[in-house]
């Protein structure tokens, strides 16, 4: 009885650790997105500062590719929107993961209690 519970407990613990990893992953991804967001914001503003006389280049790999300033602005704005969307998606994901992890935590707690009881019984019996 106690062994069974122990196995269960282990399994649940693994699940929980996995969940925690997922949570941290999505967290880091979200943070990256946030930095990108700020960066793109700055780029957008700086592009606005410049007029169309300067040439804008985009680094693609080892190549600097010339870009039209207006086009660049548009691209940057699009990228910004995309990043925002991604952030929201990741937030939702994060929420779900957190909920699941909480549930898992509760489950673990209850299992632990059971395990202790069983252990106590076993000890008593022994």
């Amino acid at each position: 009885m106690a062994e069974l519970i122990q196995k269960k407990l282990k399994f649940e613990v693994e699940k929980y650790t996995q969940m925690q990893k997922d949570v941290s992953k999505s967290m880091s991804a979200r943070q990256k997105l946030e930095t990108q967001l700020t960066e793109n914001n700055i780029v957008k503003e700086e592009l606005d500062l410049l007029d169309s006389t300067n040439t804008v280049y985009k680094l693609i790999g080892p190549v600097l590719v010339k870009q039209d300033p207006d086009e660049a602005k548009a691209t940057v704005s699009k990228r910004l929107d995309y990043i925002n969307g991604e952030i929201q998606r990741y937030e939702m994901l994060l929420k779900d993961l957190e909920k699941k992890s909480d549930q898992q935590r509760e489950l673990l707690a209850s299992l632990q209690q059971e395990f202790q009881k069983a252990q106590g019984l076993a000890v008593g019996k022994a």
């Binding site: 990108q36 960066e39 793109n40 700055i42 780029v43 503003e45 700086e46 592009l47 500062l49 410049l50 300067n54 040439t55 804008v56 280049y57 985009k58 680094l59 693609i60 600097l64 870009q67 300033p69 660049a72 940057v76 990228r79």
Partner: protein
Amino acid sequence: MAASGQLNIDDLAGVVRLREEHKKVVKDCESRISTWKKLSDDYEALNERLETLPDQLSYDVMVPFGPLAFMPGKLVHTNELTVLLGDNWFAKCSAKQAQKIIGHRMEHVKGELDALSKTLKNFEARVGFAKDLESISANQGDYVDIREDMKCSDTPTTKVRQRIAHKPNSKPKLDAILDVKEEDEEIDEDDTAEGSRKGILSEEELWARLDELEKLEKLEEEQDRLSDNPDINGEDTSSSSSEEEKEGEAVNGVSLKPSWSSVPNSIALPVIDRKEEEDEEKEGDCLPTIFFSHTVEPKKVRINTGKNTTLKFSERKEQKEHIKRKKKNGHTNGHSHHELHKITTPADIYRSFVDVRNGEPVPRKSILKSRSRENSVCSDTSESSTADFEERRVMGRSFSHDEATYSDTSDGITEEDSPTTIPLHPPSRFEAFSGTVIEKDPMPSAVPHLTIAPPALPTIPERKQEEVATDVALPQQIPKKVSKFKAARLQQK
């Protein structure tokens, strides 16, 4: 102590940990701030460079050649800069434009720096607090925990000075008296100050009790009317309003009982209502015994019949006296002074003086009227001492009948126009309540008294006039008197 000591240790450990965590955050903040500062410095330097760069067409510089070598070279196109805008975007711009961009970036950096410094400050404060907490929990340092126990019970008691409420005790006299007295006190307090000395429970119990008594009284009243049986459950030990009841109840002792009991029930507000009931019913009976428990001699209430016109109604005292009276009289169900006992402000006095006409409480214009002649007779200006009260009570008793008769006559008049016809009551009432216990004997006894009444009359009027002067009276008394007299008159008839 051990437990507390343990607690301290735990707290200490927790606080220490908290402090450490805070410190970590603070360090982190500091490192971030340093990086941003560096960035800002770099930008400053760049700005400076850009200022001077376009000055010359070309510069001779040592160009880094690989990681270990430099080569002499020239810096050309000094005004053309390729600026990294971020996210792999580049822009060719002049030095001036680059400067603009730098300025823009600098703003951003500054913003970040400010935010970080704020967080740093916050956490530093937290660290300090944690430190203090640590020292407190360790009982070190100069920190002292100041505690003040709040005693809820104190406030109500202090708020309300003990008012002795007459609680309508439906129990028969003697037993009731004692209990009632206590209850009255409780009730008074409860009523007046919502602070139950005895606690909230007692209040509730009392109220419940009051309700019961009320019902009982009503039933009894009806019975009494029919039977005219002086069964006095509880004289009004409860309320000072008993005074008023007295008058009303002068008519019948039985009715007094019910009314009285009902009155105490409603010590606070319904008192007036009760009285009405009582009054009405009382009139129907013959001379019942009226037992007023006047708790307080109108120490404060000086409804003096001439001496002082100060009206200070100390309910408590009346009530106490009421109780005493009741005790002495035993069974008489005094008028429930429900109204009276509730007097806390001058307005209350007027409120208590209510004539019962057609079953409705009509506020009396002059409180001098009605109130128990008995009171006027007994109470007088002397008032207020329980001892006096006792004496008065006795006097009151003797006079009660007189008053009854007197009141009867006056009742006829007063009932209709109470305020104008009989002036005396009010002052006496207070006094009466405080010290006068009007006991009304059952019919037979009343009759002989009636005969005696006349001689008493002359004295009474004097008092009444005196009372009139004071113009302070418990309205309740007046109506009661009316009823009493009426009852007596009826009886006579």
